[in-house]
């Protein structure tokens, strides 16, 4: 259950729309079921009243939409930003990807979003309805007579379990409270892989990446991937491909993509959320983040606008490439 109510967001949005302070509201729209929420632009109060949703399923990060929507919409856009979204928001501003003046950003607290896959694993397929209550989700299914209550905590998305920050690093206004940067265990899985032998790591990634269907959802949802033309869509880039012919091309795509967002990725976790094949793509990004932290000192992309990403920076006594494995024998 989210601490801030849907009603207070709707009320704010309607007020701003009616005062002509903004011309559109970027929000989460009610879906077919209780869990399939779609990002949408609302322009009238009625639509907001009827279809605006704010609950435990509003995982989508809106920051990237601002790149396109600020171009195509006259006037300001009101957008609601969860703490993790604000990092992407700042990073995009650092890279001049949208006009800050065209956005009214409202920071809202987030208690973590749930993962529908985990709910299905817990309750079985055939979800008929889900009600978000305090700390509990009440799930009815097509095959169970009684509703099943599951603790929200147990079905939180992986990325929320390892939440890096409850602090809003950008906003025009806060609704509810902002929190603190958290100590998280988000690098544990990276370290678990690092502790494996090279053969084991190879087998792990071979298994994961071989499932990739190159739908580009990871790239297209990624707030760091806002290139006018992606190298993988550009026949002149030398790496363009539409489908991975073999394990080399599977690796090529994901290595280069991770490299291109290295130092710019805020670790929002959208890539893994949207992957239809459930490949833990965020681990590649986290590997880069973890390495950057270890090699060059802690750096959080998006923590502040205008900060210099580690890959466009250097110090005279940086680690040598030959030194990165020192103290590791696997």
């Amino acid at each position: 259950m989210q601490k801030i109510s849907r009603e207070s967001l709707v009320e704010k949005a309607i007020a701003m729309l009616q005062a002509h302070e903004v011309s559109a509201v970027l929000g989460w729209k009610k879906g077919e079921f209780d869990y399939d929420i779609t990002p949408a632009l609302f322009t009238d109060a009625e639509d907001l009243q009827k279809n605006f949703v704010w609950n435990d399923f509003c995982g989508a990060n809106f920051s990237k939409y601002l790149v396109e929507k600020t171009r195509n919409i006259e006037g300001k856009i009101l957008t609601f930003l969860k703490p993790c979204d604000t990092y992407s928001f700042n990073q995009l501003l650092t890279e001049h990807r949208f006009d800050r003046e065209k956005v009214y950003a409202i920071g809202i607290p987030c208690e973590g979003m749930v993962d529908i896959k985990k709910i299905k694993d817990a309750c079985g397929e055939g979800i008929a309805s889900i009600a978000c209550e305090e700390d509990v989700l009440k799930v009815t299914t097509l095959y169970e007579d009684a509703p099943i209550a599951i603790e929200t905590e147990t079905v939180l998305a992986e990325r929320c379990l390892a939440c890096k920050s409850k602090k809003h690093v950008a906003y025009d206004e806060l609704l509810g409270e902002t929190g603190e940067v958290l100590e998280s265990n988000r690098f544990d899985e990276v370290e678990r892989l690092e502790a494996m032998t090279a053969d084991e790591r190879f087998a792990f990634w071979q298994n994961e990446l071989s499932r990739c269907i190159r739908c580009n959802a990871c790239r297209d949802v990624c707030p760091a991937c806002t290139c006018e033309k992606c190298v993988f869509d550009n026949p002149n880039s030398g790496v363009e491909n539409k489908a991975a012919a073999n394990s080399f091309e599977e690796k090529l795509f994901h290595i280069i993509r991770a490299f291109h967002v290295a130092g710019r990725c805020t670790d929002c976790g959208e890539c893994s959320r949207v992957c239809p094949q459930q490949i833990p793509l965020h681990l590649l990004n986290r590997k880069f983040i973890h390495d950057i932290d270890r090699f060059y000192g802690d750096y959080q992309a998006g923590a502040e606008v205008g900060s210099r990403a580690p890959l466009v920076d250097y110090t005279l006594d940086d680690l040598e490439a030959s030194e990165i494995f020192e103290g590791r024998d696997n």
Partner: protein, 341 residues
């Protein structure tokens, strides 16, 4: 109708796998996928596999031909080879129907020999869905989850597997396992069908109809303003296309290996900004147009050219997989049912 005890499953699979490669859905940590059966692999009860079985006939990537270069000479190489026999076991009714959609594209003249080759060697064994889920809407397209088509239909009960051959190829397959099966009456199957019908009536999408769609609705639908809002959040990725059992678009590309060129085809998505890009540019320049194309094709253009057959089978994969949860159901509910223009 033949039946065999569920406990004899493995013997049955071993028999089938003896002279044809047998594929069936197997559970993995990340959902069910079709895998080559070998001893120890367990047939999954999952309703939908992650990817549809269309790739058995229309793989995501396949070589069409090759050129070998040496100095200034170039030699053309036919890379085709006759496919070996294979069986796809455990196909759901919706996916089974998708083969008809694909056949109408690939097997009409000029026939796609790569597809035809595979189709000629594949036997499809379907299975009835006892536990359809909220994303299922095959009924909308007249598909009966209790009566799956394919070469052989299978009903799985608590204790037994029931088989019914629908085609000569299916007959041949049943022949092969005759020793492992016995003749059976249909009462258990009928009971199951009834049960399935009851569930189907409970499904949230049971009332979804194709009203307002069909081959003659181009004008009525093309300029509807709702396309804009529907496509508003579309990321332009290819997830819906690639998990869809009926999407059949592909791109043909050349890959230079250094010693020659491999000409291959791979799935393409009309949601991509570079789809059918030609020398003059793209014919659909905005995501609204691309988004509209995908659904107009499934609900209008395809039926217009294929005797009213829709190129959606209601499997629900796109409902489950779309990163932003925009899908054909939302499109149909928004645009359908009305005769406005």
């Amino acid at each position: 109708m033949r039946k065999c005890s569920l406990s004899a499953q493995d013997t049955l699979f071993a028999k089938l796998a003896a002279d044809a490669t047998l594929y069936l859905p197997v559970d993995t940590a990340d959902g069910a996928t079709y895998q080559k059966w070998e001893s120890g692999k367990v047939w999954s009860d999952a309703l939908n596999t992650n990817k549809s079985p269309k790739e058995f006939f229309f793989p995501q990537m396949e070589d069409l031909m090759a050129f070998k270069t040496a100095g200034k000479t170039i030699e053309l190489i036919d890379t085709r080879s006759e496919t070996e026999d294979f069986i796809v076991f455990g196909v759901r009714a919706c996916d089974a129907k998708s083969f008809e959609v694909l056949d109408r594209v690939f097997l009409t003249e000029p026939q796609d020999s790569y597809y035809a080759n595979r189709r000629a060697h594949g036997t499809i064994v379907t299975v009835a869905c006892t536990r359809p889920i909220e994303t299922c809407f095959c009924q909308t397209f007249g598909i009966d989850a209790a009566e799956p088509q394919g070469d052989v239909s299978v009903w799985k009960t608590e204790t037994d597997l029931y088989f019914n051959a629908n085609t000569p190829r299916g007959e041949a397959l049943l022949q092969k396992i005759e020793g492992l099966t016995e003749e059976a009456d249909a009462s258990a199957v009928e009971a199951q069908k009834e049960q399935i019908q009851k569930v189907l009536k409970k499904l949230p999408l049971k009332d979804l109809t194709t009203d307002g769609f069909g081959g003659d609705k181009t004008e009525a639908l093309f300029d509807r303003p709702e396309w804009k809002t529907l496509s508003e959040a579309c990321l332009g990725c290819g997830t819906c296309t690639f998990v869809c059992p009926t999407c059949q678009c592909y791109d043909i590309k050349d890959f230079s290996t250094g010693n020659g060129v491999v000409r291959f085809r791979c799935w393409d998505s009309c949601m991509y900004s570079d789809f059918t890009k030609m020398a003059h540019g793209n014919n659909r320049l905005t995501q609204v147009e691309r988004f509209r194309q995908r659904f107009m094709h499934k609900l209008v253009y395809y039926p217009a050219n294929n005797d009213g057959l829709y190129s959606c089978v209601g499997c629900g994969r796109c409902l489950a997989k779309c990163p932003i949860s925009m899908n054909i159901v939302k499109v149909m509910k928004t645009l359908g049912g009305k005769e406005t223009c």
